[in-house]
Point group: D3
Chain length 315, copies 6
């Protein structure tokens, strides 16, 4: 038996957000919340009772400590985080209010994480896990991070550790060509792929409607499972559990960042119980819950996974 159910690797971040009804250009107070897609996924699964770990470099500063308190608080094992000098990756956010869009400004250059190399981590320990989760965001940062993500996936594959990959393409970080160049070789070693319809179009040059892009990805790369979100149009699944289109409902947004990670987390919760389709239902629920409270990390209890989604008071 492995020590962990899920282990993940990515960059630690801190978000600084203007209060709703305010603008960054006139703010006197900012909300601080730790962030990071991979840590969010580990944090969600820890709350659902899974043993999870997050590996990274972590600045030995108060902000590094702030990050650690958040994710360790919900049960994520951070003992594989390597202390480092230097700055914490930041991002500033104005929540927006329609028709004024939310606005995110990254301030995440020049961090130690961008210089990581495979020898920084103890792979025997890092891969003593059932599932390795990595994202395109981490691979996109630098050649170094792309190298570590590639190494991680290969090493996991060699050891028989399953791999989950979230493409999560960001045009500010790399070109579609570079993304494909880095990510495509990983697909043969990946068990479950998250790739939105739009990322399928942009990164993998696919055309067609959502379900067909979803199933093409599955077929072309021989993956066990492919899960494709498509904004409010739905979520598409194809894989060894068949094919399905899941409906998506809109909800009022209190705070958006992290909702996608909660969808991934919920889905992987099902994956670890051998049912990605049930997992997608979990993910649809947790991603909606994610929008109801502040912070990138979604707070949810196992009992709430089964909550009927009404708004009645529970007494």
């Amino acid at each position: 038996m492995t020590s962990y159910d899920l282990t993940t690797l990515g960059e630690a971040q801190i978000r600084l957000t203007a209060h709703r009804g305010g603008r960054l250009a006139t703010s006197n107070d900012l909300r601080l919340s730790p962030a990071g897609s991979e840590a969010n996924v580990a944090g969600l699964l820890a709350q659902l009772g899974r043993k999870t770990a997050f590996a990274s470099t972590l600045p030995t500063s108060d902000l590094g400590q702030r990050f650690a308190n958040e994710y360790r608080g919900v049960g994520v094992d951070l003992s594989m985080c390597v202390p480092c000098e230097g700055r914490m990756a930041l991002y500033f956010m104005e929540p927006g209010q329609a028709p004024l869009p939310a606005k995110v400004t990254y301030d995440r250059l020049h961090t130690a994480f961008r210089e990581i190399t495979p020898d920084l981590f103890d792979w025997d320990r890092l891969l003593d896990t059932r599932l390795l989760f990595v994202t395109g965001i981490s691979a996109a940062l630098t050649e170094n991070t792309a190298g570590v993500i590639t190494h991680a996936v290969s090493a996991a594959h060699e050891r028989g550790v399953k791999v989950a990959l979230d493409v999560n393409y960001r045009s500010l970080l790399w070109s579609p060509e570079r993304a494909r160049q880095v990510l495509e070789p990983l697909l043969a070693k990946t068990s479950i792929l998250f790739c939105s319809r739009l990322d399928g179009v942009k990164v993998f040059d696919l055309i067609g409607d959502g379900p067909s892009i979803n199933s093409t990805l599955r077929e072309r790369y021989g993956l066990d499972h492919v899960v494709s979100t498509d904004s409010t149009a739905g979520v598409y699944y194809s894989g060894i559990e068949g094919q399905e289109v899941f409906q998506v409902e809109g909800v009022t947004v209190v705070d958006r960042p992290g909702a996608g990670d909660s969808f991934v987390g919920g889905t992987l919760h099902g994956y670890l119980d051998d049912s990605v389709r049930e997992g997608i239902n979990y993910g649809l629920r947790t991603s909606k819950f994610a929008l109801t409270h502040h912070g990138d990390l979604t707070h949810v209890s196992p009992a709430e996974l089964a909550i009927p989604t009404s708004t009645d008071i529970v007494r």
Copy 2:
């Protein structure tokens, strides 16, 4: 002439609420607000110019004082509250945000109110009033409280004081059978009954649509007035003013607790002016106003009872 227009008797409570956009499990600050169905009704009517009093046991603690400041501030006479030792009844609330439901956790066991007996109160003074208002919630707590509520209704009836009763069935507090056993004997002495369609089904074993349950209650127990809410389906009235179905409109909820009490309060405001049907219109308005601001106690002025329910700025 009596000293009071309405006198009521129930338990004093304090609510502790997580801020919207937060979760109790991660809160560093809670909103504190006094609560209690019977006090809320007395508080609403005091603001509308009625002389009202609230009787209870009240802990001689800062939280007891906090409760007193709130309701006395709007004009409720608390001089019939008996000081007591021990803890204040509490309830914790997470406001929720769809699809995450609001969540209420009671922490109201082991209070002095649960041990009350009829000899605690001066009934001549307590019943020097036009109308006594009691609820099933208070009757449900213990045998002692059931005994005091029963005593109060009987003593009022003997003195010719009108009685208003709100069934307000709570499955966490008692069984439908016990509720019926305690409340049914009170109905013959009651002038105006509030019983939702669902409580009619659960507690009084009635079947049929809302209006028919409403009119059956009236007929079976010979009440002057029966008022039945039915969630968003409407409000039903049958009684000496005839029969009517009132439409209900949904509104955005800032804070839900106390809205039902505001409906009761508004209705009794009409009752005291000999028009329950006008009262129900008041109640529909005050219960909507209740949802627009924090706290169990609704703040409203007599002028606002007549406000056209538009959202235009009043200048």
Copy 3:
């Protein structure tokens, strides 16, 4: 070339607002924000890169300083404000939440601005501008203010400075007859008039639908441009750029005051570039942005004028 693109003259105010979810009658904290229609217009245009100035009397108090910091902060030139003794004009606001209406209570009597006379200002300097903007609100306050506004429009006309006038009729401040008596003589000297359909009916005794009232104003008074808002029904334009009806979309309101001023400001931004029709599109956008954040002064950047009005996150 003139020193300023737009110069305006009006009263400085401070708004004190209850927090959403609270009521003034129970508030322990109020939000403070500077206000004033004319200053709002100057502040919006300053943010869009225009050279603007605001003239007034300004109390030599902390509240006067607070006002100055706000508008000077976005680039408005306040050097033509005349220091004065006495009180700052205030207004209190309860934001409301449907169905409870927003409520505004003015506390703006007995201010020095009400005693202004034309000799208080250096008209050579004040009219060293491309466009003078005045409103009916300022004209409505006292005979003195009406006299100064009349003087300002006449002096501008003599110097060949264009005049923009916003009728902005307030029934609490003057009668329709008095409004017409003061404002009608100004129209012959006005280039662009803002007059809502309702104000056309009330002040100018016009009848008919919105577009016809709008075009009648234009024809009767021989104005270059007439812009008429009509609540959610649309915005009507008639003038030397032809005629047009602009659609209006509703949005969620975080804070309403100042939205009308932002519409005027956006429209004048177009006017200064010789396209009122483009300006109206700017104004529709800035007035919607105005509703998304607190304060009478709308905060907006030139780049945001071109934002597609979706709610997607901008990364």
Copy 4:
């Protein structure tokens, strides 16, 4: 037996205060708290178990309601307040922090209270009390208010109601000559006078050290009791209980306004039990407590009057 222990008459006010560490000129939020010397005294005594009433004119606005909620909340009877139109008296405050002094800016002109006349109040009801408390502040506002205060003291004297008078000289409101002209005739009808050493010098032209000014006042006007504060130098008493100098200790100030009123209130608590000297000890304690929390009204319980003034935790 009278209906009240103490009845008082003065102006209702609202204070708006910058947060500590901020400046009014840069504040976005102000703390709102009701105020009024006479109401503060009534509020303190109500908390100590006395039956007290406060008479005034009270604006029928949300701010008027806010005032009422505060003092009624601690048990003051406001039924003798006469509803009026118009504005609430305001004052703005910057708390300061040494060496920057606290700064108070009054905005209390043009209120209905300034126009009061004796026929506004029901003197039979207002003087159905053991003790009438009035201050020089109220007498100072206008000729009207001076007339009402004079009428109140005379009417009380005629009915055998004891009178307490606090000189509380404010140079911004009247001259020493005018103060003496108005207040001196009241002294023969006053039982207990509060007059600081400095006010004795300024208003009554007395010279000498504190105790001698204190005893001179007593002798010259034949008062039962004279109580004179003298900043940190002490408090002087002379009267039918003899003579005494009380020591004063400095404490950290969280919020200063109202501390003097708490001293008066505590002293009158003793007076009503026939011991002014004990009352001064109460007053020294309550005035120190006043400095520990925000608001003009001091919150204190009877039990806390007996608290040993250590800083140990009470468990």
Copy 5:
């Protein structure tokens, strides 16, 4: 080698605190912070790099989760906490401000922890540690808790696990006689005892000055180390490292609760490195740091243990 450096056992609590400058009786918001002496000690040592665990019963409620997030966040292992039904132990606090004392009101009756029995815990796992830390507070609650504490100390002693005991006498919880009856038998199995001078007098009937009470305890019960605080008079040590009196400096208090636990934690940090005297110096530092920020749990980094206690800015 053991799995933990320190394991402790006690009750989980939540504190609800009025904001400084406010009073509970008028509060609308309370600060929420998890608490518990034993958890605080474990939390401090975890931050200093020790492996620590806390065992208890933990309600399966949001408040239970809130507690877990706090202590797990700084690295305490909570896997030995047994989920339970029922209420969370609470305490309310008014911070006070001299001369108004801080006030603590417990609301911790009727919790599951009061019913614990030795069979609830896995003692092999609980005692797989270098040091067991227990307090008199836990022993004081009920016969059950006294039984479990007694069992824990005995079982530790049998296994050769060192025992640290903090007397922490609370007169509200038990009598001195009962305290002595329960605690005295534990002393022979204790390696390091924390007993203040006052507790030595009250519980163990000792007389004399602080150092002599301290050394008498050591001699009478044959302990390795006895550490006695004596308010601001100093800290006394006697034991196998000799005898010493440590000076204590006063500091400004932001928030007091937990400071004593931080002293204990710092001292045990030294104990675990075989130097209690160095530990007392740590403890004096951490207990002062504890007073500088909110919450029962002191936040401190290993680097800060060595900070020169000046107030200069560290850049």
Copy 6:
């Protein structure tokens, strides 16, 4: 006559500060305030009625806008700031509370300001001023910034513009040797030098007591004025106004950053009126005021320069 009284050049920064009583490692909210020594000096003098300008590079981001709003709000001319891409210089602060020291963590690397060259600025415009103010902090950042500062001082000297230089040595930014190498050549062109006793020792290898270091600097470099702070020991002046030692009083600190800049600003206010000695008295006052409120920029009015430094309430 020049267009400005004082022009300065430095880096724009934003500070993010934990709330007092909290720690960065557990903060959920940070206070945001713009910062920058040179901007602070310009901001203080603008409030005192001087025409001042601040030149820099300013990121075209919301944080850049936030900076601009702050300093433009008090009247500083920012029209010489050059828009740039990239990140805003940040610094994080924990306010500390004795004995826990305040802690500042810079995050100001990789900004556009570090790449500035002399051709970025219009020196004719920048030096159309009576006084140029520069600091060692700006010179210390990079070779580029050292070059620009050197150029600025030389160009000012050539044009006959007076130069004020604040050494402000920071060991984290450069070595004493490098500081001396860059700054020493500037002294011959400097009229007024600010150099603390410690910086005199470290950077200029001086020995002796404060006054002698102060006068040695003056003599060695032939400066008009040398002003040396020496912590709480005093401030030393030597120059064409003679020699003097000024006493310094300690005050309670609400927020420390910017106090030194306020001292410089106050002193230069006197310099511009030809009295540095009067200026030092201004500076001692403004630097104390600086500690009483949040933010690097001190808010002060001309009237407050003359305030007697008592703590009495000003009414």
